[in-house]
């Protein structure tokens, strides 16, 4: 497949927002920002854990942890947090399959939890994640990292770490593609 021009629209009506290289650079930059903002490599550092929201938040959290270890030497525990059972829109569609919830070793009590998701849109997923997290323990603080913020918030929620801000129309769909699920990395607008 020929490399595509960023911003070019292919015949399927798909516009590339981030290439595979952009995704890698963006994840690396977010890792640096997390290290800086949480000061996790300082002597009196808070215990940081990354909780990915399935599906695509989970591998993103693991990738961030790898980069954080590479840049700071600190191994940050990761976990996954499925929010399906906490959603407020379950009765607006067919039955949703559940994803895995796996807390990191040592749980989330008194930890600085960084929630990781692929796209921040209405904010409802994060609202559900905050509720879910509360049932698993009492973190010292909660932060949010997203690869793409596409706007159109319906709740007073904002991210602490944003890979890329993308202005979108409400009807457009932003898809984050990750090798683990999609056989390639990238972010496209459909």
């Amino acid at each position: 497949m020929a490399p595509r021009q960023r911003g070019a629209t292919d015949p399927a009506g798909e516009r590339e927002l981030l290439s595979a290289g952009d995704v890698a650079r963006t994840v690396a930059r977010m890792a640096h920002q997390i290290i800086e903002k949480t000061a996790l490599d300082a002597p009196s550092a808070p215990a940081v854990v990354l909780m990915g929201i399935p599906t695509r938040g989970a591998p993103l959290a693991r990738r961030l942890a790898v980069k954080i270890a590479e840049f700071s030497g600190v191994e940050v525990p990761t976990g996954t947090l499925d929010v399906t059972l906490y959603r407020d829109d379950l009765r607006r569609g067919p039955t949703r399959p559940l994803e895995a919830t796996k807390l990191p070793e040592g749980g989330v009590d008194d930890k600085l939890v960084v929630l990781v998701d692929d796209v921040l849109f209405s904010g409802r997923t994060i609202r559900a994640a905050l509720d879910a997290l509360r049932d698993h323990g009492r973190p010292r603080a909660v932060q949010l990292a997203v690869l793409v913020d596409r706007g159109h918030r319906e709740l007073p929620i904002r991210a602490d770490y944003v890979g890329k801000n993308v202005p979108t129309a409400r009807t457009e769909e932003v898809h984050v593609l990750l090798d683990e699920f999609d056989q390639r990395d990238g972010v496209v607008l459909r």
Partner: protein, 310 residues
Amino acid sequence: MKHLLSTEGIDPAQATAILDTAASLKQALEGREVRKLPTLRGRTVITMFYEASTRTRVSFEIAGKWMSADVVNVSSSGSSVGKGESLRDTALTLAAAGADCVIVRHPASGAAHRLAGWLRAAGTSVVNAGDGMHEHPTQALLDAATLRERLGDLRDRRIAIVGDVLHSRVARSNVHLLTALGADVTLVAPPTLLPTGVESWPVTISHELDAELPSLDAVMLLRVQAERMHGGFFPSAREYSISYGLSERRLKLLPEHAVVLHPGPMLRGMEIASAVADSPRAAITDQVRNGVHVRMAVLYHLLAHEEENA
């Protein structure tokens, strides 16, 4: 899914989806301080039990409560059923009172199907928690969940269902579900405790337990249902136990990995030796534990989606 009335003809994909949900729920709730999920907040679940039950009723009630549904229990004694109200009128009353789901156990085979018909207009979901000698689908689902935990995929697994098949709704539901999931099911029972028409079931029939044991992946024992027996189905309890009871000697004939199940309540010394019931090979308490997660999953698949016109 609108109702869960039987496992006969169940779509294997639907059954697998429920079992996967149950496994996820179990994992999500493990080690948590707060064993409560907000998923079914504001939904009302009513259990209607016209027959004695401990584990099934309690299991449904806990399942509903852990999903944050409001659970109301109705039993035949102490309700208007005792005054002679018909099943249909009781059901319509409960639907009018706001039930989103009615869970029914009834001595008449087919009661849950009738109920689903009567409640169509009200849009209430119905779960069959055991109807006479017909079906008990959530028991089969929890048995399958327990077997999947111990054995993995059930395709081509050899599972024997032993004992009073004739009176057993558990056996019927398991035959349909386990074969739908690809298992190879053998019924082991005296000819007097097999139903007529069993030849048309997708199973193998055997009368010799010892001959089957060495090749089994799981053995499921059934309770001898004395309350449904009027007449001599077998000469004596002792003779039944000698021919079909799972003794310690028989346990040794099973392969090392094989699992022993019993839906309960069990009659120790009759269908199962006490030492076998308490051995690590028996998954009987796992069955009860999984029952809660399976019933949570069933409620999730029935109630946590948009309204269907079915």
